[in-house]
């Protein structure tokens, strides 16, 4: 044992910086999260208050609204964003000319690499009631312009569409890779039997990517409470905040903006703990179902 450790020491030297990093930036914060059970004091030690902040959260109408918003926005994304890349991959697979297909893919992957600050800027411009592209079309069709970014009825749909705009292209890559992995002989056999495009898609392609769909669906369920901090943070404003304020933006707002550190930590830890149960559950379920876990 001692000899083997001596032989392995260069490897532990290599791991050491990483270990120190994980301890400082991931394990120390877990320790600091004890603030959720304390009252924060600028001078002197914090005072232990147990679950006081949690009873405050659970009786707070604002936090309840935030919780509901998180669930609604996540559910909307699950319903309306999740299927888009699947259809996209199926469509792209029907493009036979390789050059044209590469061009289409290059274009639709791009938004994935833009920050939400940039995307918010792009959407604010494109949805502007005075001269944004969308309202220019609406006005051209003879309707009154809509101020989407400040309209309580539309803002959640703005989140759905901007999420599709950003991620549907890139996410289609995963499904496309799954389609490419399907045995070409299956298609050849189907063609010999006289199958048309539609039959090949429904009988071979779609069943071929069902495991990928299942894995990603389960992963998304595991990450359900991550309704999209960067997105909401950059698209929110006073007019519609109560419609899209989610747990993460609430934590930022009451913690770093109004200085209620303990309450904010409690809310963040609440999300972290439920998220932990959900992602581990998703991993185990995925492993049982498809043999492939989340990590």
């Amino acid at each position: 044992m001692f000899i083997s450790l001596r032989a392995w020491w260069p490897y532990y030297v290599m791991i050491l910086p990483g270990i120190i990093y994980f301890i400082l930036f991931h394990y120390l914060p877990i320790y600091e999260a004890k603030l959720a059970f304390e009252n924060f004091r600028i001078f002197g030690d914090n005072i232990w208050v147990g679950l006081d902040h949690y009873s405050r959260l659970m009786t707070s109408p604002v936090f309840m609204q935030v919780l509901i918003n998180t669930l609604i926005i996540s559910a909307m994304k699950m319903l309306f964003v999740f299927p888009v890349p699947i259809f996209l991959a199926l469509l792209i697979n029907e493009v036979r000319a390789t050059g044209l297909r590469k061009f289409i893919q290059s274009a639709i992957y791009l938004p994935h690499f833009l920050s939400w600050v940039v995307i918010a800027g792009i959407f604010i411009a494109a949805l502007s009631p005075s001269n944004g592209a969308v309202n220019d079309i609406i006005k051209g069709a003879g309707f009154a312009p809509i101020s989407f970014m400040t309209d309580a009825g539309s803002i959640r749909w703005v989140l759905v569409f901007s999420e599709i705009w950003r991620s549907a292209g890139w996410d289609s890559l995963l499904y496309f890779a799954a389609i490419m992995a399907i045995d070409p002989q299956l298609y050849e056999a189907a063609e010999m039997d006289g199958a048309n495009r539609w039959q090949k898609m429904t009988i071979i392609t779609i069943p071929g990517i069902v495991p990928t769909i299942a894995t990603l669906f389960i992963l998304n369920i595991g990450l359900f409470l991550n309704a999209g901090f960067d997105q909401v943070f950059n698209m929110t404003n006073d007019a519609i905040r109560d419609k899209i304020d989610i747990i993460d933006t609430y934590v930022y707002r009451i913690g770093l903006q109004t200085g209620q550190f303990s309450l904010a930590t409690a809310a963040g830890l609440f999300k972290g703990l439920i998220g932990l149960v959900m992602i581990v559950g998703a991993h185990n379920f995925s492993k049982k179902l498809t043999g492939k876990g989340v990590w």
């Binding site: 392995w8 490897y11 690499f113 800027g121 411009a125 001269n131």
Partner: protein
């Protein structure tokens, strides 16, 4: 007869599929081209320009001239480049070192170390504890608060470990028998073989640093430390014109007060994404390959 019918039907299908995809390409690219066109148009024309156009009206480089001499934008650019370059170098070095060691199947304690890393993936206590740790480490208003965050990204670490594991063990053992130590094997054998995977995580990290706005916003009180994303956010998202034009500097730029804000915002957005567009061909080359070979996101 029957054959001819199906083929014309297939042609209609093909046209439908292609036009749908073409429409999606337009929806993706047009908003960016529109902003570029607006930033290149004369300020007198901008107020009446439609969001649908992609052609500049009365070509003018006024906005770009302002951006390229604007102190906030130039320091922002320098800060972004500094954080992205230093951050990415540290990321790649320490991720590769850790991945190489953890990819050795017989490393004592390997399983425990894996669990040690996985815990950080499944449990995140939130941004407030992060903030207090950075504060206690004395890193507020230091570039290190931003550079060191995600120094080893657990997901990329796992991707790299999986890649290193595929390198044939006989090859590694043969070099070890020749007397090479762990560092030499990594440098001479593993890294050259893993070049596509390394390129992929390098670009992942680079884009991550370039697009990060939250941590610099939280940890840098000094505006001179702000990267481009934070400057852009202040100006375009928060609508803080003074942050961009500067109350005291309003008259200092030639015609700054006449510059159309819509045009300046559009230019600023394009300015911020230009470096991403610049490395995008590389991204396409490596990311798509990396993702194709099974490394999920």
């Amino acid at each position: 007869m029957l054959r001819k019918n199906t083929s014309s039907f297939e042609r209609v299908e093909q046209i439908l599929i292609l036009s749908t995809l073409f429409l999606l390409v337009v929806i993706t690219v047009q908003p960016i081209l529109n902003l570029l066109a607006i930033s290149l148009s004369d300020s007198s024309k901008v107020p009446l320009m439609s969001g649908l156009t992609i052609i500049p009206e009365k070509l003018s480089f006024d906005v770009w001239a302002i951006l390229f001499q604007h102190p906030r934008v130039l320091t922002g650019l320098a800060n972004s480049v500094f954080i992205a370059v230093v951050g990415t170098i540290l990321n790649v070095v320490f991720t590769a070192l850790m991945a190489w060691a953890l990819s050795r199947p017989k490393l004592p304690g390997r399983r425990i170390l894996f669990i040690f890393v996985l815990i950080t993936i499944v449990f995140e206590p939130g941004i407030i504890p992060d903030f207090f740790v950075v504060k206690k480490l004395g890193l507020i208003d230091s570039y290190w608060s931003v550079i060191l965050y995600k120094m080893v990204n657990a997901w990329y670490l796992i991707i790299l470990i999986r890649f290193f594991e595929e390198i044939p063990n006989e090859l590694i053992e043969a070099v070890e028998l020749d007397g090479a130590n762990a560092f030499q094997v990594l440098w001479l054998i593993v890294l050259p073989l893993a070049r596509p995977a390394l390129a992929t995580i390098t670009l992942f990290y680079l884009v991550y640093h370039w697009n990060d706005f939250l941590r610099p916003m939280i940890y840098f009180n000094d505006q001179d430390m702000w990267p481009l994303q934070v400057v852009l956010r202040q100006f375009v998202v928060e609508g803080d014109k003074a942050a961009m034009v500067g109350i005291e500097a309003m008259g200092n730029y030639d015609g700054a007060s006449q510059i159309n804000m819509r045009s300046l915002k559009a230019g600023m957005i394009i300015f911020t994404i230009a470096p991403v567009l610049f490395i995008y061909p590389l991204i396409l080359k490596f990311f798509t390959k990396g993702t194709m070979s099974g490394a999920v996101k």
